[in-house]
Amino acid sequence: MTDYVIRRLLIAIPSLLGISLILFTVLALAPGDPFSELATNPNIPPEVRANLREKFGLDDPILVRYLRWLAAMAQGDWGFSFASRVNVDTLILQRVPTTLFVIGSSQLLALAIALPVGIFAATRPYSVFDQIANTLAFIGFSLPTFFTGLLLILIFSIKLDWLPFVYRADIAETGWRWYWEHLRQAIMPILVLGLFQAASYTRYVRSAVLDVVRLDYVTTARAKGLSEPVVTLRHVARNALIPVVTLVALQMPAVFGGAIVTEQIFRIPGIGSLLINAMLANDTPVVMAVTFVFACLVVFFNLLADVLYGWLDPRISFR
């Protein structure tokens, strides 16, 4: 087991190096200039821009810049943003709590809906409940988040005037009002992300449970005279959830990426909005760092999923 994890971690190093090289090259080849706003301003002579490019090392060959980046990264120096001249790790760390709060809550919400609904629907396939749940799930994952986000804003902020649609990470309130304001502003983004995820999870849970519910051991359990809730929760759900756990683990990095749109709509200062703004400003060090973090997350959660799988299902061995 430990050997397996160590081996996987060692394999991850060359793949991360490869990813970083590709990312860096693509970003370096992409058109655009972090100082393009200065270019259209007649007040700023071209020398100023040339000087800035030179100071930030933008005129060196790509390979030189990559090796410099790699050497700094190896020492824990993530570089600094061209747009704000702040260290990139500071920028990312500032965004982590908000991202974790919003994404984490929406994942919890998704699971809280998907698990009971999926299991209940699968134990009564083709009942009215199952039909309704299926239809809603289908609608849920067909509607993109930017659409549901705008729809909710239109209804709850503009028509009804109940909820704010601009998310503020630091609210100048204390005590219960602070919690209340946080909740109010987070309801819509969490709903948008959570319902979207819940829809696809429901379908997975349902089909996984359906696979298991007809197996012989379930019939045996029923024959033993166990009550229906015990059969469903102890015997069916536990086995059915193994693929679901893998799926949730593999979804985590994708959720970070998928939140970019929602973060932009609700102005949530998360990692996704940091990435999109850095891209718009051609702020290469930030884009590089955030995408690299995403790459690391994908590699890490893959490993985690594999390890979890073996832990949940002892029939699978690591070699």
Binding site: P31, S36, T40, A83, F165, D170
Partner: protein, 597 residues
């Protein structure tokens, strides 16, 4: 009006009992023009145009929170590093320049005690020395006094190449900045400079404290802790800043203007898009003010109906215009297309250029596309008023264009496109991707079709179009097309730097990596001469005439076809009273913003 009545009014203005504005209003009612009234005041001993913006509250504070929404978030708050207006506005909350520009292009003092002039001895007769008297009893947020040392330090800081300051261009024209006494600085320019009010003024002029930044001049500039925790002289003190997200401040109780500011806290939230920012101010009232409303006017009007906010506009120096390329964009000479020495096969004919100018329906472009966001114009320089040429007129007339082309010998071919000597009037018309621009392109293409000119429309992503990527053929400075449309900005109320786009030594070429400012590559010795003369001309009236001459040369040659003079647009709560200027940051008078009860 009786003489003694007039005198008592003038002295009322002098004592501050009556505002300058209401005086001029009274005079206008009595048949005096505004400049005449201004002259009366000047002769009566009231300084010329140094009015502070109107401010009603009678005490500082008590205004509650002020919430602003910028759809591009503030990313840094050191004014010398600012790469765009978002950063300049963010810095302006905490820092102040010696003086700022109001919407008419007048100087309003902030950290200066008065505006230098010939009368008060601030300006030397040779135009090379400017003496600023600084306001006394101004304190930095940490209690230290603001002195001439700080001003001198800002010059040293900005011109040091290792600092990598984006403001350095405004300070390199200075020979030296000397401290005369604690509250007087003398600026010595390398040569006579008619436009002396650039260093230490407006968005490039915000002063940072020497005692805080002193150690961090040059290569260490990025390490200064105060880059993220500013200590300024401004109306609000620093509370919290998250780059790319939110900026917060609280009222500065020791602000140097009595009874100001009105609000207790300020918050600038960033991110999102312009349309939803407008919505948060105009429709839901979640925020008080949103900056840079680049939104179609129709959308804004719909929000305004029955909303809690309104749209405010102010003229600016930005001009949306078209370049007709007189060089050949399709043949490579010495490794570059559109080489300055090459000749365009058809656009070198003045008749063709004149016809195209007649085919731009500017009024429709304004009415249906830009709305309050711009005004149709025939001039390249539109503001301030004294620099706008009275000689240029625009016209939309397809028949006249057809007649001119017929007379010049351009005959319609079988496909309806005009040609002469086998050369067809077929052009590539390029601009950046931006919905109003694509609509304008379509309007012009339609009209040109009716006159037998075929336009191929091309749009380039803005990040590519406005980049300085030497390897990319689609940047705007390359001009690898026959016609090109974009906006150029005139950041100051003086067009000198702006008009270097019309001089021969600024032509964009491969040699200068296409960084030259003259992108049309059109050259006229008279324009060069006028520019050189204007750089030395100290008489403002003669100077304005020289700039107008340059404007007229390029516009009447139909090489530069101005389309829309853009206005700055912001969304503002119905109760908020801001002071908006097209020549300075949006927040230039943040100290005197207030909310009406």
């Amino acid at each position: 009006m009786h003489e003694d009545k007039l005198r008592s009014l003038i002295s009322a203005v002098k004592d501050g009992q009556m505002s300058r504005r209401s005086f001029i209003g009274r005079m206008a009612a009595a048949g005096f023009t505004a400049p005449m009234a201004g002259m009366l005041l000047a002769q009566g001993g009231v300084a010329f145009a140094q009015t502070q913006p109107a401010y009603k509250p009678s005490k500082a504070g008590g205004g509650g929170p002020l919430k602003l929404l910028f759809w591009q978030a503030v990313t840094l708050i050191n004014p010398h590093f600012a790469t765009g207006t978002k950063d300049q506005n963010g810095s302006r909350v905490f820092y102040e320049p010696l003086a700022g520009w109001d919407k008419d292009g007048n100087l309003i003092p902030f950290l200066a005690a008065e505006i230098p002039s010939r009368e008060n001895g601030g300006l030397s007769p040779d135009g090379a020395t400017v003496t600023w008297k600084l306001k006394r009893d101004v304190k930095w947020h940490d209690g230290q006094p603001f002195t001439a040392d700080d001003v001198v330090f800002n010059w040293e800081y900005a011109v040091d190449p290792a600092t990598a300051a984006t403001t350095s261009g405004s300070y390199t024209g200075l020979q030296s900045v000397e401290k005369v006494d604690d509250h007087t600085v003398r600026l010595v320019f390398k040569q006579p400079t008619p436009f002396w009010a650039d260093p230490f003024v407006g968005v490039v002029g915000m002063i940072i404290p020497k005692h805080v930044f002193g150690e961090y001049k040059g290569a260490k500039s990025r390490e200064a802790p105060a880059n993220l925790k500013p200590i300024g002289t401004g109306p609000y003190r620093f509370v919290d800043f998250k780059p790319g997200d939110i900026l917060r401040g609280e009222r500065n109780p020791t602000y140097h203007i009595p009874n100001q500011p009105h609000f207790d806290t300020i918050e600038i939230k960033g991110g999102g898009d312009a349309v939803s920012a407008a919505r948060a101010v105009i429709q839901t009232g979640e925020f008080d003010y949103a900056w840079n409303m680049q939104v179609e006017d129709d959308v804004l009007k719909r929000m305004e109906a029955g909303g809690r906010g309104k749209v405010i506009t102010v003229p600016s120096g930005d001009i949306e215009f078209i370049i007709l390329n007189t060089t050949d964009p399709w043949t490579e000479i010495e490794g570059e297309r559109s080489h300055a020495k090459s000749k365009h096969p058809t656009l070198t004919d003045p008749a063709v250029r004149q016809a195209i100018n007649l085919l731009i329906d500017r009024d429709s472009v304004q009415r249906f596309i830009y709305g309050r966001g711009g005004t149709a114009t025939a001039n390249f320089v539109n503001a301030p008023e004294q620099f706008r040429s009275p000689n240029m007129k625009y016209e939309f007339n397809i028949d006249k264009a057809n007649k001119i082309l017929d007379e010049a010998g351009w005959k319609r071919g079988a496909d309806g496109i005009r040609e002469k000597d086998g050369k067809k009037l077929k052009y590539v018309f390029q601009t950046s991707i931006n919905s109003p621009r694509q609509k304008t392109q379509a309007i012009i293409k339609q009209a040109c079709q009716k006159a037998g000119i075929d336009l191929e429309l091309k749009s380039v992503t803005a990040t590519v179009f406005f980049s300085s990527d030497v390897a990319n053929p689609d940047t705007y400075t390359k001009l690898y097309c026959d016609m090109q449309m974009y906006t150029t900005t005139q950041p100051q109320p003086d067009p000198e730097r702006f008009l270097n786009q019309f001089v021969s030594w600024e032509v964009a070429t491969k040699e200068n990596k296409w960084q030259g400012r003259n992108i049309s590559r059109y050259v006229d010795p008279q324009a060069d001469e006028a520019y050189r003369a204007a750089q030395k001309e100290l008489d403002p009236v003669k100077r304005a005439a020289l700039f107008i001459k340059m404007n007229d040369i390029f516009c009447s040659a139909n090489v530069i076809l101005p389309v829309i003079s853009r206005t700055r647009t912001a969304a503002c709560s119905n109760t908020l009273v801001p002071n908006y200027s097209g020549w300075d940051a949006d927040l230039w008078t943040l100290n005197s913003w207030y909310r009406e009860a």
